[in-house]
């Protein structure tokens, strides 16, 4: 590649960087701007002239953001635990045990995977409502606490374990449970991590379902609480900015810590539409 071509390449990459990360950086800058800052200065100023943390305390004073974080955390915890346990158990049975109707059951999970959640969400709500779980965090978590996609991902994970490994354990007299727990599960830790991460992100970011299920404010998850930001602070973009940054911190921390799994999960074919 010639020199000009290389320069051109990095210019385009830089443009994309500004486009994709720029809005976040601008939001960060906005959240620290104080009363002395002209928000509408020409040209726009990135470094605050009158830096303050007042916007953050302002949001925390007026909205119970920490409560929202706690609620989201509870939902995410239920969903992640349910998916790891449920999908691992079912994936193992589908991949490594032989029984009648195995194909049928696998087919059921495939069908469930193909049903778009938006098209059944009203019926889901009626169901949750009739069981008395409307407006509870458990009601938010239950429908997604074992996703068909994750069951099939775990099944694929278990399928690639060489049969010899399990056979050796069987000769030593290990029963199903021991083969599951001591032989197979340690082999699929990577897939389990991917399942955990994607369930976490999905639960943490979900908006439509909590919006339908939850009605009282003390049960709001973070996305619902944030939705109120716009109404509450419409006139002050700095407060909205501070609110979004607070909401972003947990998910960015997870992303920073487990970055390689995010990419690995996508490459492994764990595509979520």
């Amino acid at each position: 590649m010639s020199r000009t071509q290389k320069t051109l390449r990095y210019l385009v990459l830089l443009a994309f960087f500004l486009l994709l990360a720029g809005p976040l950086l601008w939001q960060l800058s906005l959240s620290f701007k104080g009363a002395g800052d002209d928000l509408y200065a020409q040209p726009p100023q990135v470094i605050p002239a009158d830096p303050t943390t007042g916007n953050y305390t302002g949001v925390l004073d007026r909205l119970p953001v920490l409560l929202y974080v706690l609620n989201s955390g509870i939902v995410a915890l239920l969903v992640v635990a349910g998916n790891i346990a449920g999908a691992t158990l079912a994936g193992f049975a589908l991949a490594r045990l032989r029984f009648r109707f195995r194909c049928l059951v696998t087919g059921l999970f495939v069908v469930a995977l193909l049903v778009p959640i938006e098209s059944i969400i009203i019926a889901q709500f009626l169901l949750v409502r009739s069981t008395g779980l409307a407006d509870t965090l458990l009601g938010v978590a239950l429908p997604t606490c074992v996703a068909a996609l994750n069951v099939l991902l775990m099944r694929n994970g278990f399928q690639v374990i060489p049969a010899e490994l399990e056979e050796a354990a069987r000769i030593d007299g290990a029963g199903v449970w021991r083969r599951f727990w001591h032989v197979c599960v340690p082999q699929v830790r990577g897939v389990m991590t991917v399942v955990a991460i994607f369930s976490f992100v999905g639960a943490w970011n979900d908006f439509l379902w909590p919006l339908i299920v939850l009605s009282s404010e003390e049960n709001y998850t973070l996305t619902l609480g944030l939705n109120r930001l716009r109404g509450t602070f419409y006139s002050d973009p700095r407060l909205i900015a501070a609110g979004t940054i607070i909401a972003l911190l947990p998910i960015l921390a997870v992303f920073a810590l487990l970055q390689r799994y995010f990419f690995r999960g996508l490459e492994a074919g764990g595509i979520k539409g």
């Binding site: 990459l13 960087f17 449920g86 049969a163 056979e167 029963g175 970011n205 609110g243």
Partner: protein, 320 residues
Amino acid sequence: MTATPVRRDTTATGTMPPRARPGRGGIGRTHDRWWTPWLFLVPALAIVVVFILFPFANTLALSATDATLLKPGQFVGADNFVRLWHDDRFRTAMTNSLLYVVCVVPVMVAAPLVLAALANGTTRILGFLRTAYYLPVVMSSVIVGLIWTNLLDSRGLVNQVLDWLGVISEPVPFLSGRWLTLLSAMVVTIWTGLGYYMVIYLAALANIDPALYDAASVDGAGPIRQFLHVTVPGVRTTSALIGLFSSVSAFRVFGEVYILTGGTGGVGGQNITITMLIQQEGTGLQAETGYAGAISVVMFVVLGLLLAGQLWFQRRGGSR
């Protein structure tokens, strides 16, 4: 298959036939009791049957009734669907959602590939850039919507910059007016999806034989011709898959439009999408769950047609 009840599976002693090849269809026993596999399956199966398959069947049933949130309703046959046909809100929602697919999908198939080709490499700076590009993907549509509400406001950064550059003399009302709001929402959706599909393309790029690039380079092909003649054909299967996934998710769009229009769907519901319509008709005290069920069924059918259409198109196009 032998069915001799031996002992509890969990005990360590006792010998088992060593011939069995679990999961590969060989002859042999994987467990002792017929219900052992079902114990493993119960949690997942229960959730999926109760919360996905049953509601799906119930949606079909609801769509043929005049049920509301407060009463079960009676069978009305295809009345809901006839009503849909004449419902302006439904027409608007369908138009908006389909427009979303038509406008967003081509960008989602093409732009991330360019991005992936440019950002592919092992240097540190490229790794950093890829991570930065992925950031919008992990954010919830609510946060994304709020960030862009700030940016696209009549006094927001986008208008500031355009004004500063002298491109415009008065602020562009990005968040009002039917088409401009819809366009803004599409931009936001694309902004969130670029990094996601880039990562999928990166995995596909890794599977292209480097010798092809060498050969092209020997033949005197520059970077652009290499991209068009080696990269693009090399990731064809992935492109098809991304077309499929992005059209399904574009048709289902909800969060971005909801937040950008402040939860209303725009003046007179002009920016409403199918998912928003389901949410508005099916919740609240005046909820008409039967009618919402009919909209849901139509949504399901359209998504099925989208998938089938794309598969058919790809078959014909000769790609595998």
